[in-house]
């Protein structure tokens, strides 16, 4: 009897300490994230006045407007184009580099440091430099290679120019994650494959990729979620409004920013961002289902 009350006294204590310690985080998350999540979804069904004054319930009107809004539909296409180029390239190049650096090699640390460098620089500064590099008339790229390409004002290619910046920025980060994964792959697997006469490409395909598939999956999923939210580079690189390529480059998050904080239409902004959420969740769900076919956990 005594023992039991002692145990329940400890349990009560644990309960009180537990809740006291998580309280700041839980209150914070509720105020900063859970309530805003509900508010945003609710606002997407409202026509909003300034600062919530005169919110009028309009049902699905915002959504109807959105799905007949050419600019939004185009921005979804732009976002997907960016993602489809940025993610595979930044992942594949990073994986190849990680395999190259996963051995005793001179300058390994220096290469790692250089590749990772863009990760610690503000995208605002990175975008500023790239805008200058891309300049049609005076930019380094066109003058170095004697080209006349309008990298960021030609509607047909601007979104890919933005994707190149994204690839350049992410390679080092992805590579570091892959390097950590590769260190877990036992050396003798490669030696055995070597003895069997497997080429580098065969070992890559049949040992490296399956062995690090969990981390590969993680990187692809998180990179796709991040790519779907591209904003900084587009905002900084593209000349607003006057750029003829803007329409075919602006992302969903860019339109969200424009609608919400330039045009001050919070209701429509909320609608755009809810659509973004649904898109991201759908793409992630597809990947989680598809992973069963190629990811090996052991």
């Amino acid at each position: 009897m005594k023992k039991r009350s002692l145990r329940s006294a400890t349990a009560t204590q644990t309960f009180l300490w537990g809740w006291a310690l998580i309280l700041p985080t839980i209150v914070g998350l509720t105020v900063l994230n859970i309530i805003p999540l509900i508010t945003t979804i609710s606002q997407s069904f409202h026509k909003t006045g300034d600062f919530g004054r005169g919110n009028i319930f309009i049902g699905l009107k915002n959504y109807q407007k959105l799905f007949s809004d050419q600019a939004v539909l185009q921005s979804i296409i732009n976002t997907l184009k960016y993602t489809i180029v940025q993610v595979p390239f930044s992942v594949f190049i990073a994986l190849v580099l990680a395999v190259m650096l996963n051995r005793e090699i001179k300058g390994r640390g220096a290469y790692r440091t250089i590749f990772f460098l863009p990760m610690v620089v503000a995208p605002a500064a990175i975008a500023m430099v790239w805008r200058w590099l891309y300049n049609t008339e005076f930019g380094l790229i066109n003058n170095l290679f004697n080209l006349k390409i309008s990298w960021i004002s030609d509607p047909a290619i601007a979104v890919y120019s933005i994707a190149i910046i994204g690839i350049w920025s992410d390679i080092g980060y992805n590579m570091i994650l892959f390097l950590a994964g590769l260190q877990e792959v036992p050396r003798d697997y490669y030696e055995a494959a070597d003895l069997d006469g497997a080429s580098i490409f065969q070992s890559f395909r049949h040992i490296t990729v399956p062995m690090i598939s969990p981390i590969l999956f993680f990187v692809i999923v998180t990179r796709m979620i991040a790519a779907m939210q591209v904003f900084d580079t587009i905002f900084m690189v593209m000349e607003q409004r006057s750029n003829p390529a803007m329409y075919k480059t602006q992302s969903l998050v860019y339109l969200f920013y424009q609608s919400s904080f330039v045009e001050r239409d919070f209701g429509y902004g909320s609608t755009i961002v809810v659509v973004l959420l649904v898109l991201i969740m759908a793409i992630t769900a597809i990947q989680i289902i598809a992973q069963k076919k190629w990811v090996h956990y052991n």
Binding site: T14, I22, T25, V120, A124, A125, L140, W168, I176
Partner: protein, 276 residues
């Protein structure tokens, strides 16, 4: 065999050096341009790669007209308070979630997961409306606001506490320490490396943030480095030496820190990402 491996290694280094150049050239170009005169930067025949003489005018002009000292200060305050909040709240919650079994903890932890899974833009409008209703725009508090607590940090610290050996608590109990003291004096000191990782991660991402600072802090005195660059972009449309000088001033402190604390940076960002 030996010859083959030599060619192999030469090829390997050729590729790696090529990629290194691709990563470095934008930064080199930023430096070179910032020392040119505006005329030199847009000279075509012949195209100027290296400035004939290094001149600091752009730096001086950009630094004084934009009050960069103030921008550094605002950015530093943002980073400092974000780290402080993340380290304190995430340690507490991480310990509770990782070491204590109590009613409701699983439900509470699901809030952490929900926050981590949802794109942050979802929260921005209501967060802005709160700051605006409080009349707190253009303050340091507004900058820190979305990072008052850290779901990601809680997740990371929970992992850090989980892997500590179980007998630590038993020993503390024998010494008569209560749960709070066990947390503070016995377990928390053992999570240093995770706290460093969390701090680096928090600092870098606070420094890189653009949209939130741009929305809440619009007055000239309350800008941070990233949002100030965004504003400058419109002001000096064609003056590239000044734009490059400003970008350089904005990114040099973090780059220097990175070179000094390489290991902590790479591990901090990568292990944080890897554990997500």
């Amino acid at each position: 065999m030996r010859k083959r491996s030599l060619i192999h290694s030469l090829l390997l280094h050729a590729i790696l050096i090529g990629v290194s150049l691709t990563m470095l050239i934008p930064f080199v170009w930023m430096v070179l341009t910032s020392f040119k005169t505006p005329g030199q930067a847009i000279q075509l025949d012949p195209y100027v790669f290296f400035p004939t003489q290094f001149q600091f005018n752009s730096f001086i002009r950009v630094f004084t007209t934009n009050n960069f000292l103030n921008l550094y200060k605002n950015t530093l305050l943002l980073i400092f308070f974000r780290i402080l909040c993340a380290v304190v709240t995430a340690s507490m919650a991480g310990f509770a979630f990782g070491r204590l079994k109590f009613k409701g903890s699983e439900l509470a932890f699901s809030l952490v997961l929900v926050q981590m899974m949802i794109p942050s833009q979802i929260f921005i409008i209501p967060q802005y409306q709160m700051i605006s209703k409080l009349g707190m725009t253009n303050t340091t508090f507004a900058l820190v606001f979305p990072g008052l607590v850290s779901a990601f940090g809680t997740f990371l610290m929970r992992q850090a506490y989980k892997i500590l050996p179980k007998d630590l608590e038993d020993a503390a109990k024998i010494d008569g320490l209560n749960i709070g003291k066990t947390f503070l004096y016995v377990l928390a000191p053992l999570t240093k490396s995770s706290l460093v990782a969390l701090s680096v991660f928090t600092a870098v991402f606070a420094y890189k943030e653009l949209m939130w600072p741009m929305i809440v802090n619009t007055s000239k005195d309350s800008l941070v480095l990233a949002s100030a660059l965004a504003k400058m972009k419109g002001q000096y449309v064609a003056n590239y030496p000044e734009l490059m000088a400003a970008s350089l001033i904005a990114c040099v402190p973090m780059i220097l820190l990175y070179f000094i604390f390489q290991k902590q940076f790479i591990e901090g960002i990568a292990t944080s990402g890897g554990k997500l």
